[in-house]
Every structure is written in structure tokens, then in C-alpha cells.
């Protein structure tokens, strides 16, 4: 009853009330806005200003005329034709990008999470420090070097695996001629390279969990497993969600080095390993067409944007705080 009366009182003053509220919010929040200023300025300069260049995707870019002086492409979507116009190779590349990145996100998250939780269970201080540092090493090994190792393992003539197979009396396997092996190989390499790095984020979050929760649980007789399952994991959920959403934001962009160097750029494997970035790289190697590469980037951004907004909306319904916006 009281509320209804308040609302009735506010009704005729709606617009000026809204304005008043705006002023009030700005007054109380002004410090925060100023604190946000440096970041927003930097992002404006280095992310938003260059975004004006997206228009290159629709233009016939001539160096002398510059970005805004160049003529529009005729028809305006011509730079996009390579992706859309009955191009099986491009379609397959797009499909691979999405599927493989999705597998990477799922597999990578599960493994990194497990690793972080495992680290958390280790009490021996030296072992913990040592292993944490060791798991970080693969991050530093460039994909070129990884490619050398992979070819050393999976090569036909002298590869480690094939030599083993021969010794055991089996036939050799032509790994570089069979696409089906490679999603798995790439997944393993991707996890191996990134697990230590990603685990750090989860470790940071775990460190932030109030240890009184664990103590209370222990007093109640919960095992370490139960503590992990009922305390650690739920409290890690927001972090996992945020990292996943951020990863979805990059889902159309592939780690070029991984796909190009580790597969040895072997054409036979393209049906399973060719991603949009490597495909466009090969297509534009001789022509160097900036319009087409800009169009591809634009396409990737739009798809990522749609996927992120959708996922974000889904997340908002269940875990409002973890949503990106």
C-alpha cells in the first residue's frame, strides 16, 4: 500500500526525477569515472580509432588514395566472396576453426582446472613450487620448435612412434597423410602448452577462497575430495565462466603458429586442420590483398561478437556476476 502511494506520488515528476537520479549518480560516482578515464582513453586510441579501418573490408584499397579516399568495392561485398561463394575449402576451414577451438576450450579448461586443484592438494612445499614452475616451461617453447619435435615423433622414416611400432612388429603409420589423427594431436599439444599458464589463474582464485570454509568443512568431517567438490569448484565457477566467455570471444581466431608449424603445413591434413587464419594466409600469400584480409577479420569479429553476446545472455540468467556485461 505504501509503495503504491509512493509510486503514485512520483508519477507526475517522472522525467525530472530521472534527471535528478542521473545527477545524483554522477555526483556519487564521479571519482570512479575519473579512475576509469585512463583505460578508456587508451582503448579509444588504440582500439576504437583503428576500428575505423574496418571500412577497408568494403573498399578497393589503393595506397595512394588512402583509406578514406579509396573507391568502394563493386559490389560492396566482393572482398567477402572468398569466404561465402561456393568455397568448400573456406567453409571447411571455418568449420574446423569453430570445432577445434571449441574442443580446445573444453579440454583446456578441464585439464587446467584439474591441474590447479591438484596443485592445491600438494602440501610438500618444494615439490609444489618446482612442479608449478616446470609446467610453465612449455609456454616458452615456440611453435616452430614444437613442430620440429612433433615431426621427430610422428615422422614416417625415423619417427619415434614408427620406430617403436616396427620394433614391436607392427606396420608403420603415415601420420602426416591421415587427417583423423591430428585433432587429437593438436589438442594434446595445445593443452600441454597452455595448461601451466591457465592453471595460474585458477590457482589465484583458489588462494582467494576464505580458508575458514575448509576448516569448517574439515571439522564437519568432510574428506579432501568432498571439500574440493563442494567448496573449491563452486567458488571457482565464476572464474571458469569468465575465462570461457573470454575464450569464446576469440573462438574464430586460431593460434596461427600452432596450426601452421605443428602440422608442418601438410596439404593432406587440411580437411581436419585447416583453420580460417591459415587458409587466408595461403590464399593471400602472393596477392597480399589487404581488402580480403580485412574482410576476413571483420567476418571473424562479427561471428565472435554474436557468439559472445549469446553466451553472455545465457550466463546472465544463471550467474549474473560472472557475465561479461
Amino acid at each position: 500500500m505504501k509503495l503504491h502511494k509512493q509510486k503514485a506520488e512520483q508519477k507526475p515528476l517522472d522525467r525530472s526525477n530521472k534527471f535528478k537520479k542521473l545527477i545524483y549518480d554522477l555526483k556519487t560516482g564521479w571519482q570512479l569515472y575519473i579512475m576509469a578515464l585512463p583505460a578508456m582513453l587508451l582503448l579509444f586510441l588504440f582500439a576504437y580509432l583503428p576500428m575505423g579501418g574496418l571500412v577497408i573490408a568494403f573498399k578497393n584499397f589503393n595506397f595512394r588514395k588512402g583509406i578514406f579516399g579509396s573507391d568502394w568495392m563493386d559490389p560492396w561485398y566482393k572482398n567477402f566472396k572468398i569466404i561465402f561463394d561456393h568455397n568448400d575449402a573456406a567453409t571447411s576451414a571455418i568449420r574446423n576453426t569453430l570445432i577445434l577451438n571449441f574442443i580446445f576450450i573444453v579440454g583446456g579448461t578441464i585439464f587446467a582446472l584439474s591441474l590447479a586443484l591438484a596443485f592445491n592438494e600438494i602440501t610438500h612445499k618444494f615439490f609444489k613450487k618446482l612442479t608449478q614452475s616446470l609446467t610453465f616451461l612449455p609456454y616458452f617453447i615456440s611453435t616452430v620448435v614444437v613442430g620440429i619435435f612433433v615431426s621427430g615423433i610422428f615422422g614416417y622414416d625415423h619417427g619415434t612412434i614408427n620406430s617403436l611400432l616396427v620394433n614391436l612388429g607392427f606396420d608403420k603409420v603415415e601420420f602426416y597423410m591421415k587427417p583423423s589423427y591430428w585433432p587429437v594431436i593438436l589438442l594434446i599439444v595445445n593443452i600441454w602448452k597452455g595448461a601451466g599458464y591457465s592453471a595460474v589463474v585458477y590457482l589465484a582464485t583458489i588462494s582467494g577462497i576464505d580458508s575458514s570454509y575448509y576448516e569448517a568443512a574439515q571439522i564437519d568431517g568432510a574428506s579432501r575430495w568432498q571439500q574440493m567438490w563442494y567448496i573449491s569448484l563452486p567458488l571457482l565457477r565464476p572464474t571458469v565462466i569468465i575465462l570461457t566467455l573470454l575464450a569464446i570471444g576469440r573462438i574464430m581466431n586460431a593460434d596461427f603458429g600452432l596450426f601452421y608449424n605443428v602440422t608442418g603445413d601438410m596439404p593432406v591434413l587440411y580437411s581436419a586442420t585447416d583453420v580460417l587464419d591459415t587458409y587466408i594466409y595461403r590464399a593471400l600469400r602472393m596477392t597480399g590483398d589487404i581488402g580480403i584480409s580485412s574482410a576476413t577479420g571483420f567476418f571473424q569479429s562479427v561471428v565472435s561478437f554474436v557468439l559472445v553476446i549469446t553466451s553472455n545472455a545465457i550466463v546472465r540468467r544463471y550467474e549474473k556476476d560472472a557475465a561479461l556485461f
Partner: protein, 513 residues
């Protein structure tokens, strides 16, 4: 109140910090289009205004590079009155960086380029300055040289001169090289005079494989020899023309007999074990394999067949023979190494004057190529050699990248790279064979703007298939793979590309008449 004050003070401090950052970024850094004069004009008394010329070369900047170019500025003070700002971009990144600089309107004067580098892309986007009037006026000696050699046609794009090519003449006619000493040792006799066809090569490979079963015999099936066999010339994007055809009809290379034959031979050689299965993925250094004697033959050209290598085995040497010497083969384009003037250059006249001086002045040539006598090189007779204790890996000036475009045969000293008379011999080899012809399409470049999507797809489809066909690892028999390639290309708009290319060639030929 106090709290508010400290808070405001902190915020102000932050803002001051940020604006200080921005301000410190604003002033133009030295060397960034800091020209004084306007277009290198001479004032009324005939004296030149001082300018700074910005050059971009390929590779690594050496320790004494700046000192040498300061000395050059000193030497040319009266004739040029220019100081030089010389910059180097490393090999792998050269193409990308130059394209970015060109596309964003960066200002510089002269840069190195080549048909194997970024020349066609830059020219396609009008990044290089048109020199039709400037070249004859400010570099008359050079211009005369080009007219004499016919290189002026090559330097043209869409009818206008846009580059300053090198003046060397050479032909990369294909030949087959093999380890002469190993072949002799194994008792294999090779009659070089009758060594002419791919069948001859095949026979030799078989013999080598028999005698040296553990060695890698060859690394690919050289396509150039089939081009020579069928008188084909490559015009880019895997399109060719028949040199015997006066109309120069455009032929997609995958549909030729030459391509099919090459695919079949490659397949045969892979199956026979002359090549090896991991060749594409094992990332072995083929140069090193050759040096070590683990790879014992290759397809090559005159320039490389005549050079010594860092052989590991004593007495190792190449023997070689030309194949299909009766086929027509085009000379190497003068666009192999060029210097070009950026469309944004503010001193093209001065730059051209410099290039012209290089054509006339031995002393300037020495300074540009070898540096300062005593400091970066010493004279050993006529030869320019490294000073004591120095070699190519720690050179303080010599062997700089990009100098190839500025080689002048009339001034070249024999040096560590090329012995006495090397380039004369190259030229003789090129003009010696009557079947070595100047390309009828010199000065033509296929402008792909109208068909950029189709050409990009074509390039990708072609390279993906060709990579495998070259080493006989196609997915299926050679005939099947080639047939699939032909079909894929047709489906990706081949006819549109061919029509467009033919149209441009016809126009070009009409313009020549």
C-alpha cells in the same frame, strides 16, 4: 575536507602523468620526415638546399653502416648536399613491413624490392612513384643504359616507369646437377653432351640409387625443365604463355602436358625411393644434406651450379648438364632486384641524381658497396676483401642486403662472393644460347584487382596441390590428382581469370605496337 583534497591531488597527479606521457609522444622524433627543403629545388644561385634522403634496404644493419653513409654524404656534399638516413628491415618481415609502410602513406625515398619480394603488390597499389619524366631528366646516364638493354620496358607498369631495375643480364635456364665425384667413384658414366631429357635424368637417378641405396637422391621434380621442353613462360599465379605463340594466349599451367609429365615423373621417383616420404615434414635443412653428401643431386641454374659449397667430403664437386637446351626459356627479369622510389618521396629528384652518380663514379660505387677503405674493406689488387680477422658473419659493412639492386657491372670488383669475371660469364651464358629469349611480356604485370577473389582462391588451390605433386606425394595417382586440380580450378572461377588476363595481355601487346 582534507581527505577530499588528497583525493583530488592524486587524481590530478594521475592526469598530469597521463598528459605528460601523451605530450612526450607528440613531438616528431628525429628523422621522421624532417626535411628542410621543398622538393629538392635549387635556389637561384644554383646551390642545392640540404635534404635528408631516407633509404630502406634488406637485412641487417651493420656496425659501420651509419659511418659509411656519413662519409658518402661528405663526398657528395657539393653535388648532392644530402645526408642519408639508412634503415634495414630483416628478410622475413621485409614484405609485410614495406606493404604496411606503403599502405599507410609513410614517407621515405628509396627502397629495395624484387619480383620475388613485394614489387608486384606495391606496384599494384600504386605505392611507387611514376618516373616517366624524372628518370630521363635527373638520371640520364642510367636512362640511356636502360634504353640500350631494353630494361626500360620491364620497369614499366600500366605504361609508366615505376622502378629502377638492376642492369645485370642472366638466365636461369634449368640444368641438372649431381655429385660428380660420387658418380665417378661408383663407375657410372655420364655423357654430358647427349644428356638432354628427363629420361636421361631418370636413368642417372636409377643408377645412383642402385649404387648409393642409403642416400637421398633428389629432392623434387624440377618443373622448369618441362617449361623449357614445352617453351612455356610463367606469368604469375600459375598461368603461362607459350613463347612460340605470337598471340600469347594464356594457359593455366595445370592443364598442360608439361604439368602432367612432371607429376608423373615425381610420382615415379617418390615410389622408387629417390625422394623420401618425410620430405615435406621432417624440416631437414636440404643445404646441409647436400653439404654432408646425404643428398646427391638437384635441379639448379647456371649461377648456383658454378659456385663452390661448404662440402664436408674431400673432393666433392658438382657436375651438371643442361636439359632441353633447344626449348625456349626467358631471361631473368630485370625486376629481380630493383630500387624503387616511394610515391610519398619528397626528394625524388635528388634520389635519382644519386642513382645516376652511382652509374658514373667508381669512387662512389666503392663507398656504397664496400665502405671505407681500411675500415670496412682492404684492397687486394683489384679485389675488395675483409679486413684482418673479419668475415661475413661479423662484417661491419660489406655484404649488406639489398646492394644487389645497385650492382654496376662496369664497376664491380671481384669480392668474397663473386670471383673475377663471374658476372661476365653469367651474361655470356645468358646470351650464348640463342634459345634464351627476352620475355615478350617484359613490363607487363597482371593487375588482379578485378578478379582478386578468384586469383586468391586459385593461388591457394594451386599451391596446396603443387606442394604434394612436386615430391610425388599426391593423394592418389598423378593423373587423378592433376585431374582433380584442373576441376577444382575450373570450379573456382578459372575461366574468369583467364579471360581477364588475356584481355590485359591483348591490350599490352596492342600498346607495344
Amino acid at each position: 575536507m582534507k581527505k577530499r583534497f588528497t583525493f583530488i591531488a592524486r587524481i590530478v597527479l594521475c592526469l598530469v602523468l597521463i598528459s605528460a606521457m601523451l605530450v612526450s609522444c607528440s613531438p616528431k622524433s628525429e628523422g621522421d620526415s624532417g626535411n628542410d627543403s621543398d622538393g629538392g629545388s635549387q635556389n637561384s644561385s644554383g646551390k642545392l638546399d640540404p635534404v635528408t634522403l631516407h633509404f630502406i634496404f634488406f637485412g641487417d644493419k651493420k656496425a659501420e653502416t651509419d659511418a659509411v653513409w656519413d662519409a658518402i654524404a661528405e663526398y657528395t656534399k657539393d653535388t648532392l648536399n644530402a645526408t642519408f638516413d639508412v634503415q634495414f628491415i630483416a628478410g622475413n618481415d621485409y614484405k609485410d613491413k614495406i606493404l604496411v609502410k606503403g599502405s599507410t602513406g609513410d614517407v621515405w625515398d628509396l627502397n629495395f624490392d624484387g619480383d620475388w619480394l613485394s614489387y608486384y603488390q606495391m606496384v599494384g597499389k600504386d605505392a611507387y612513384m611514376v618516373l616517366d619524366d624524372l628518370l630521363p631528366e635527373y638520371a640520364p646516364t642510367l636512362y640511356a643504359k636502360y634504353q640500350e638493354s631494353g630494361a626500360i620496358e620491364a620497369a614499366k607498369s600500366k605504361g609508366h616507369i615505376v622502378a629502377v631495375p638492376w642492369t645485370m643480364v642472366m638466365n636461369n635456364r634449368p640444368l641438372f646437377q649431381w655429385r660428380g665425384d660420387l658418380v665417378e667413384e661408383a663407375g657410372i658414366t655420364v655423357d654430358k653432351d647427349s644428356f638432354e631429357t628427363v629420361e636421361d635424368i631418370d636413368a642417372l637417378l636409377a643408377q645412383m640409387k642402385e649404387k648409393y641405396p642409403d642416400k637421398k637422391i633428389v629432392e623434387n621434380c624440377g618443373f622448369d625443365m618441362f617449361r623449357a621442353k614445352y617453351n612455356l613462360m610463367d606469368i604469375g599465379h600459375s598461368l603461362s604463355v607459350d613463347l612460340n605463340d605470337p598471340e600469347l594466349k594464356v594457359i593455366p599451367i595445370e592443364s598442360t602436358q608439361a604439368y602432367l609429365e612432371r607429376a608423373q615423373w615425381a610420382e615415379k621417383w617418390q615410389d622408387a625411393g629417390y625422394m623420401w616420404k618425410d620430405i615435406l615434414t621432417d624440416k631437414l635443412d636440404h643445404n646441409d644434406l647436400i653439404n654432408q653428401g646425404l643428398l646427391i643431386s638437384k635441379f639448379g641454374t647456371h649461377e648456383f651450379a658454378n659456385q663452390n659449397r661448404a662440402w664436408v667430403e674431400e673432393g666433392a664437386r658438382w657436375d651438371y648438364a643442361y636439359v632441353y637446351e633447344d626449348g625456349l626459356f626467358a631471361n631473368r627479369t630485370p625486376l629481380a632486384n630493383v630500387v624503387a622510389i616511394s610515391a610519398t618521396s619528397e626528394n625524388p629528384e635528388r634520389t635519382l641524381m644519386f642513382l645516376n652518380m652511382l652509374e658514373e663514379d667508381q669512387k662512389l660505387y666503392d663507398m656504397v658497396h664496400y665502405g671505407i677503405e681500411g675500415k670496412t674493406y682492404v684492397l687486394n689488387g683489384e679485389e675488395a676483401v675483409f679486413p684482418e680477422g673479419m668475415n661475413a658473419s661479423n662484417s661491419n659493412y660489406m655484404e649488406w642486403g639489398g646492394r644487389w639492386a645497385l650492382w654496376k657491372p662496369q664497376f664491380m670488383r671481384p669480392d668474397a662472393s663473386y670471383s673475377e669475371g663471374f658476372w661476365t660469364r653469367e651474361k655470356e651464358a645468358a646470351v650464348g644460347n640463342p634459345k634464351n629469349v627476352v620475355s615478350p611480356l617484359e613490363g607487363f604485370s597482371f593487375d588482379i584487382t578485378a578478379v582478386n577473389t578468384e586469383v586468391s582462391r586459385r593461388d591457394q588451390i594451386y599451391t596446396d596441390a603443387d606442394k604434394l605433386l612436386d615430391v610425388g606425394l599426391g593423394d592418389g595417382t598423378a593423373e587423378e590428382v592433376v585431374q582433380k586440380l584442373i576441376e577444382d580450378q575450373k570450379a573456382a572461377g578459372l575461366d574468369i581469370i583467364v579471360a581477364e588476363a588475356q584481355k590485359q595481355i591483348d591490350e599490352f601487346l596492342k600498346g607495344k605496337k
